[in-house]
């Protein structure tokens, strides 16, 4: 364990709106750490105010009056050219038209040179707060052009500084997360920007993979199912990403993935803005319609930004406690203050539409993967927006009652934690393996089992237990122990097919039992259905027969080779010689 200590490991969750960092602590556990400002969720924002540069959460308040010089949402632009970027949606610092790299231009103040120079004409146009006409001795306004990779490097280097301050040494190994939909070019751009910032990047890891590693899916312990289908639902500030993943003993193969870049925590912000602005209008009789469009009055825009900041806290307290969450803004508009509160039930009512949209997206992506919702074994949550208990409740009602909706690790931290764990795994490779070799050992796609292989008790029609599930990367090995009595036992191995058995349950419509209910998109039928995933046998693969000497267990080992060949061996536990095997 000693070598764990001299190794400092960092995991970075680099989101579009917020980033978080995690390290491996002295006990060898990954923990999400707070930066110098005491924030675990560090806003991905950089604001240039005069001679100062604010990075992180400190930059957020500057959106109110210095929006033009505040840079946000730069991550998704990485690896793109200016033309590829949808530059109409950028609300902050304007993007420069440059075909190779998107770049921002911001107004800054530079220390005055010795000679007096004319004031920059751009400063007046920039924002109302910029110093209009500086005296000779004062700093002179100027503009600065900063490209997206530069912004990223600058931001990541502050994260590195925070981690270094916490660890006492510079992290020697780092894994950084990237969204599931990032292209290889974007991966490269991110890696380059991180290396520019002085971070030694071991791997740029898919966010969904980071979540799986963070929850240790497939490796958690003895009780956990080894083969299962999970959905990783990552709802951040700006977008929703859903991945359907087959976990086979800790190896993750992607069945389907997708995202909705309109559905995110921002939806909740808008709802709250709308709610509070209505309340404000009702109380003060001042017209305020939020969220406001691009052609709204400056006063409305300012109110929008102010309320947005305040709502952030309201959201956090809504997810943290069941009581009412307050929202207070001084001088929201025309000198009137806003001070109000909202309780969770009210909020859930407001947000039910968003919840439903999230649920629909989940169903959509699961079905696109050729699966039924009933076949999903677990839902893993990530992203700060999934912290709302209302959303979690909605999702757990959606999936089958036995399917857990997991948020055991704080969803807002799990990606960073997963990155740190992955960095730990990669930096403690044994047998002289190299990180690059390990990472380059896989191609884009790997061979996986196409259908499940199950055990059939002779004479029965159904597969009693699935030994090797579909979607398991080859080669795969599984071992099961079957309690047996003394005597001659035999079993058959069959290839199977996953199916969903639908049973209509006639029930009185009055009974409001949500638990068993499996609501599809539409809630048309009064009859309730129960869906159970089953595996039908389709093709026999072989059988084994062992003469058991005494009561005990029969160990069955099934290996599917890289070339698709099957190797089956069964023996009595404790009597390795008493065995039967076949190979195809």
């Amino acid at each position: 364990m000693a070598d764990l200590w001299d190794r400092s490991i960092l995991g970075i969750n680099f989101g579009q709106s917020y980033a978080s960092i995690a390290v491996i602590d002295k006990e060898g556990h990954p923990t999400c750490i707070a930066n110098e400002e005491g924030e675990r969720q560090i806003a991905c924002a950089i604001s240039y105010v005069g001679e100062q540069v604010y990075i992180g959460n400190g930059a957020l308040p500057h959106l109110v009056k210095n929006g033009n010089n505040t840079i946000m949402g730069f991550r998704n632009l990485l690896g793109h050219t200016y033309d590829e970027v949808d530059h109409t949606t950028i609300l902050t610092a304007p993007l420069l038209a440059d075909s190779s790299v998107p770049a921002y231009t911001v107004d800054i103040l530079v220390p005055p040179p010795a000679t007096k120079s004319a004031s920059n004409p751009r400063s007046a146009a920039a924002s109302g707060t910029a110093t209009p006409n500086p005296a000779a001795s004062e700093p002179i306004p100027s503009t600065k052009t900063i490209t997206v990779p530069e912004v990223t490097s600058l931001f990541l280097s502050t994260l590195l500084t925070s981690a270094t301050d916490f660890l006492g040494t510079k992290p020697s190994a780092c894994v950084i997360s990237a969204p599931t939909w990032f292209t290889p070019a974007q991966h490269d751009a991110l890696r380059k920007a991180a290396e520019e910032a002085g971070i030694s990047v071991l791997q740029v890891l898919d966010e969904a993979a980071a979540v799986l590693v963070g929850y240790r899916a497939g490796n958690a312990g003895e009780e956990e199912r080894r083969d299962k289908r999970v959905v990783v639902l990552d709802m951040g500030e700006t977008s929703l990403a859903i991945s359907v993943v087959q976990v086979s003993e800790g190896e993750y193969t992607v069945l389907n993935k997708g995202r909705d870049d309109k559905l995110g925590g921002r939806e909740f912000d808008d709802l709250l803005l709308k709610h509070f602005s209505k309340e404000f209008t009702k109380k003060t009789k001042i017209a305020l319609d939020l969220p406001c469009g691009p052609d709204a009055s400056p006063a409305d825009k300012r109110a929008d930004a102010k309320l947005l900041l305040a709502v952030e806290h309201t959201k956090r307290s809504l997810s943290a406690s069941s009581g009412a969450a307050t929202c207070a803004v001084e001088s929201l508009k025309d000198g009137y203050d806003l001070s109000t509160s909202i309780n969770r039930m009210r909020f859930d009512g407001l947000a039910s539409n968003v919840y439903r949209q999230v649920g629909n997206k989940l169903i959509e992506f699961v079905q696109a993967a050729g699966l039924d919702l009933a076949e999903i074994d677990e839902v893993l949550l990530a992203g700060a927006s999934t912290l709302f208990p209302g959303l979690q409740q909605h999702l757990s009602l959606l999936v089958s009652p036995t399917t857990p909706v997991t948020s055991t690790i704080d969803p807002s931290e799990v990606i960073a934690v997963g990155c740190a764990l992955q960095a730990l795994h990669l930096s403690t490779l044994k047998d002289g393996l190299k990180v690059t070799d390990v990472l380059s050992s896989i191609k884009d796609k790997v061979d996986v089992t196409s259908s499940p292989i199950g055990l059939v008790i002779p004479g029965q029609d159904e597969i009693s237990a699935v030994i090797v599930d579909s979607g398991a990367p080859l080669p795969v090995r599984r071992r099961v122990a079957i309690p047996v009595k003394k005597g001659n036992v035999a079993l058959e191995l069959w290839e199977g097919k996953h199916e969903v058995k639908v049973e209509k349950v006639e029930r009185a419509p009055i009974e409001k039992s949500d638990d068993d209910d499996e609501d599809e998109d539409d809630e048309e039928e009064e009859d309730e259905e129960t869906k159970t995933p089953i595996t039908k046998k389709t093709k026999v693969l072989g059988g084994v027969q062992v003469d058991i000497k005494g009561d005990g267990q029969l160990i069955l080992e099934v290996i599917v080779q890289r070339n698709g060949g099957l190797q089956v061996k069964a023996w009595e536990q404790g009597h390795e010689d008493n065995k039967d095997e076949f190979e195809v």
């Binding site: 240790r216 190896e251 390990v438 196409s450 004479g459 309690p483 036992v489 099957l566």
Partner: protein, 457 residues
Amino acid sequence: MASVITLPFTLPSAPSGWTKPSASKPSAPTQLTLYPAGPSFIGAARRQILQRSFEEDDKNIIKAREEAEASNVDKGDGSLYPGLGEEEEPHHVLSQDPKEWKKQDHYAVLGLGHLRYKAHDEHIRIAHRRKVLRHHPDKKAAQHGANDDSFFKCIQKAHETLTHSDKRKQFDSVDWNIEDEVPDLKSLSPEEFVSTCNKIFSREGRFSRVQPVPEFGSLDAPKKEVEGFYDFFYNFDSWRSFEWHDKEVNEGSDNRDDKRFTEKKNKSERTRRKKEDNTRLRTLVDQVLALDPRIKRIKAEEKAARDAKKKGSVANGAPKALTPAQKKAAEEQKKKEEAEKKEADKKANEASKGDREAAKKAKEAARKNLKKWKKSIATIISSSNYFQPEGQSPSAAVVEKQLAELDILVDILEPEEVKDLKEKIEKAGNGAPAKAALVESVKAAGAKGEGKFTEFA
């Protein structure tokens, strides 16, 4: 590792008439994207890169785990260093006064007396832990109601001293339990000399700031090693310091001058001791260097090599290059010869020491007699008027020549013969018979004296 999952049902016995279905290949694999993440992925990658099958990989994992367990440092007080710090303390250790900590043997208190300066931090930590478990005042009070925590204080003091690196150095510097006597090196045989020096210098080496310290080495160490050793010890950088012997500054005293005085005295005392210690070591190395049999051997070898080279260059133009085996054989031969010669010399020396002494005395006496006899011959010659005819005084040249020839004759003859000659001449008496006797003896000397004599021919 393959984890085994127990299925929730019992396998019934095979139905009668059941036959094994014929084996067939499962459906062809499909392709999916794999996330390169998680320990299982790394395991799979390892198997693929190292071309291991599941079973080989299992074996490797089990082996690695066993190794890890074996090398795992015992965190508690389990099996590591069994017996360390668990022995019964002798009475004199137990009954120490904690106030007299300067005189306390900290290693003995912790039961590390056999390790001393070689004990490392882990030894000290574990020994202290075990001692504390046995001697904690609470435990003692529970056992026999005594409220004697003096030994516990000793333990704590010892632990404090030995875990503080500076304090431990100070204590190790003056550890009086390590004997630092040097036996009389002159009286030792080469083998004993080497083993003694090895002991001495490994002991002295503990004070070196530069580690590791070269060993004194064996009797047949090569020149380079021997020189390296002396170089090291002539440039010895010692951390030894003598703060331990400082006189306590009276803390209660307000007198600043008093304190300063004591401090100054302590400082000068420390410097003095340090200087003394350096001199001691230097003298020791000087002494050893002077007596080192290997230095003599190396010098002899070098000389032999030089001679051989000279000879070789005369005889062959260039010295023949010897194969290592030959060289070794030659060296061994030489060594053997040397040893034999030494042995023989030694024996001979011992045997004939008395004889030699006697012979020496006899020789001395003979030389004295020879002078006497020569003188008497010369007297006879002069009294015979240098064998000149009567009345004719001898010329100076003749006298000188005759005396010179007499000298030569005495040199040629053995002392006994000179004695005989003298007696013969005395008997013959002065004059011609004396000359005849002389001429006769010159003739007897024969070839040795040919051409040298004109007067006595």
